[in-house]
């Protein structure tokens, strides 16, 4: 899923300062799972913004709404009837959701309340970890299902750097060395030979070659 974190309220306040009537829109998918942009977080942020406005003698009107998804037109469409009553939309979606809403409503200011962070996994309650960079050329098959692009701080394809000590990354002792994990897993599976091959330079054009990427599937189109 896509993870995100709420921006500092000071930054949000600065963005919404010119507006009085604000539509605060949550997203019930990924960002709800990581407790950043679901219905509950919409409630908390709206409450905080209202309290702040009252305390500083400002007038503000907030409508709270949470869509099942903010990145799919059918769900965004639920805003169509009410959006004209508001001066701005404060979106608690990931960057994709914010932009999807903006495309549907070209004249409305759509403001991001979250910082979108990474593709990751819910490791345990309250802990999310990054493990995919969406490079477009998955090599997990040769790296024992541990992604060196994401989980090695230097994104090394051909073995650990010289800083790995007692299975920790030199950059952050809280982070396990991805290459230690790869070597251990391959060793356990008796496949250490996979590492004898020199992996040639990666094809980053699959990640960022010609600007934003797209996927077209004719069979899925109407």
């Amino acid at each position: 899923m896509i993870t995100a974190e709420r921006k500092p309220i000071s930054e949000i306040k600065e963005m919404i300062a010119p507006y009085r009537k604000i539509l605060v829109v949550g997203c019930g998918s990924c960002v709800a799972e990581c407790a950043a942009g679901g219905e509950k977080e919409v409630g908390l942020l709206s409450s905080a913004l209202r309290m702040d406005a009252k305390a500083s003698g400002k007038e503000i009107e907030i409508k709270e709404i949470t869509l099942d998804r903010q990145c799919v037109y059918e769900f965004i469409d639920h805003l169509a009837e009410i959006i004209s009553q508001y001066d701005a939309v404060l979106s608690l979606a990931c960057g994709a959701g914010v932009q999807a809403v903006a495309e549907v409503f070209p004249k409305a200011p759509i403001l991001p309340a979250l910082n979108t962070t990474f593709l990751g996994e819910t490791k345990e309650a309250g802990l999310w970890v990054e493990n995919c960079r969406g490079c477009g050329d998955c090599k997990l098959g040769v790296f024992a299902a541990v992604c060196p692009v994401t989980r090695c701080a230097k994104g090394l394809f051909n073995g650990p750097c010289g800083g790995s000590k007692t299975d920790r990354c030199e950059v952050d002792p809280d982070v396990p060395c991805a290459w230690q994990l790869i070597v251990t897993r391959l060793e356990d599976m008796g496949q250490l030979d996979l590492l004898r091959k020199v992996h040639p330079p990666a094809d980053w054009s699959k990640q960022q070659g010609k600007g934003p990427r797209k996927i077209i599937r004719e069979d899925q189109r109407t």
Binding site: G163, V183, P201
Partner: protein, 307 residues
């Protein structure tokens, strides 16, 4: 004009090679580089110039190499993949060769978060092994990545680094083999303080036949003080500085600690000369280049052979 790598010639003729490290200044004054070169000239075969080491902005490695080259030294251009993508790296390889630089050391580089630009974007378009392979292919096949032909290939003696003290230890010898497969011709190691572990690693490197295919230069760093030893043991990534070395430094009176550091360095060099498969030493006297001539002389590696 030197047109060949002095380092390569010294090694090929069977001599025990001596290289040293020169860190460029945090400034634009060429005299700093030249004066470091003057100290080292004659006492070492070649001089490595670090590439924004530990992610700290310093005078460009390629420029410093060119300055040393003009002073008649044989520079080793250190090149990290942290700061430049494959376009810039390959372009710099060609530029280095054009400036008469004949040695290159390929590294991934310390992570940018350690340096004075922690908010920088780490490039890591390719890794150190891929850089070795790229330079080798440029030189031997006259081809850049993707197969396009060069009008004229670069002339470079290709090196890589190895850290026998990092983990996973058992995999470290295989990793060296990968670098040699990729095209590395000489290896400079992390500073050696733990001789026991280094010997163990050399055993593995001889066992997998890598030692026969590459020149290995053992890393030497003279300790300036007990405090420096403790600092390095604690704070430098990938460093293995055993307690007995630290204790030996501590046992020396403050005034004599520098001399003790040099003594340890010289003893380590003597020990390395006895290890099969070790072809030289690489002296990294951090901001203490003056120590190098003394170490080389006391290790009885002076005068250097003609090459």
């Amino acid at each position: 004009m030197i047109t060949e790598s002095r380092l390569k010639n010294v090694l090929d003729s069977g001599n025990f090679a001596v290289t040293a490290e020169c860190g460029p200044p945090k400034g634009a004054d060429p005299e700093v580089v030249k004066s470091k070169g003057t100290i080292l000239k004659g006492h070492v075969d070649s001089v490595n110039v670090t590439d924004n080491q530990t992610g700290v902005v310093r005078l460009n490695s390629l420029a410093a190499c060119a300055l040393l080259r003009a002073e008649g030294l044989d520079p080793v251009l250190q090149m990290v993949t942290r700061d430049r993508n494959r376009i810039a790296l390959q372009s710099d390889v060609l530029g280095a060769s054009a400036l008469g630089i004949r040695n290159i050391l390929c590294l991934s580089g310390d992570h940018q978060s350690f340096g004075n630009q922690p908010q920088a974007k780490g490039v890591f378009d390719i890794d150190s092994v891929q850089l070795i392979q790229t330079v080798r292919q440029m030189r031997d096949a006259g081809e850049i990545i993707g197969g396009e032909k060069l009008a004229s290939p670069p002339e470079l003696f290709i090196g890589a680094v190895a850290n026998p003290f990092a983990d996973p230890f058992k995999y470290r010898a295989a990793r060296l083999a990968t670098k040699v497969d990729a095209g590395a011709e000489f290896i400079q190691t992390q500073c050696i303080f733990n001789l026991k572990r280094f010997k163990e690693w050399m055993g593995l490197v001889r066992d997998n036949r890598t030692a026969d295919q590459v020149y290995i230069l053992g890393g030497i760093t003279p300790l300036k003080s007990a405090r420096m030893a403790e600092y390095m043991a604690k704070n430098v990534a990938g460093m293995d500085l055993p307690k007995d070395v630290i204790n030996r430094m501590k046992a020396a009176p403050a005034k004599e600690q520098r001399q003790e550091g040099i003594r340890i360095a010289v003893e380590t060099i003597h020990a390395l000369r006895e290890i099969k498969g070790v072809h030289g030493v690489h002296i990294m006297a951090i901001e203490w280049e003056d120590a190098v001539p003394q170490i080389v002389e006391e290790a009885k590696l002076f005068p250097r052979p003609q090459a």
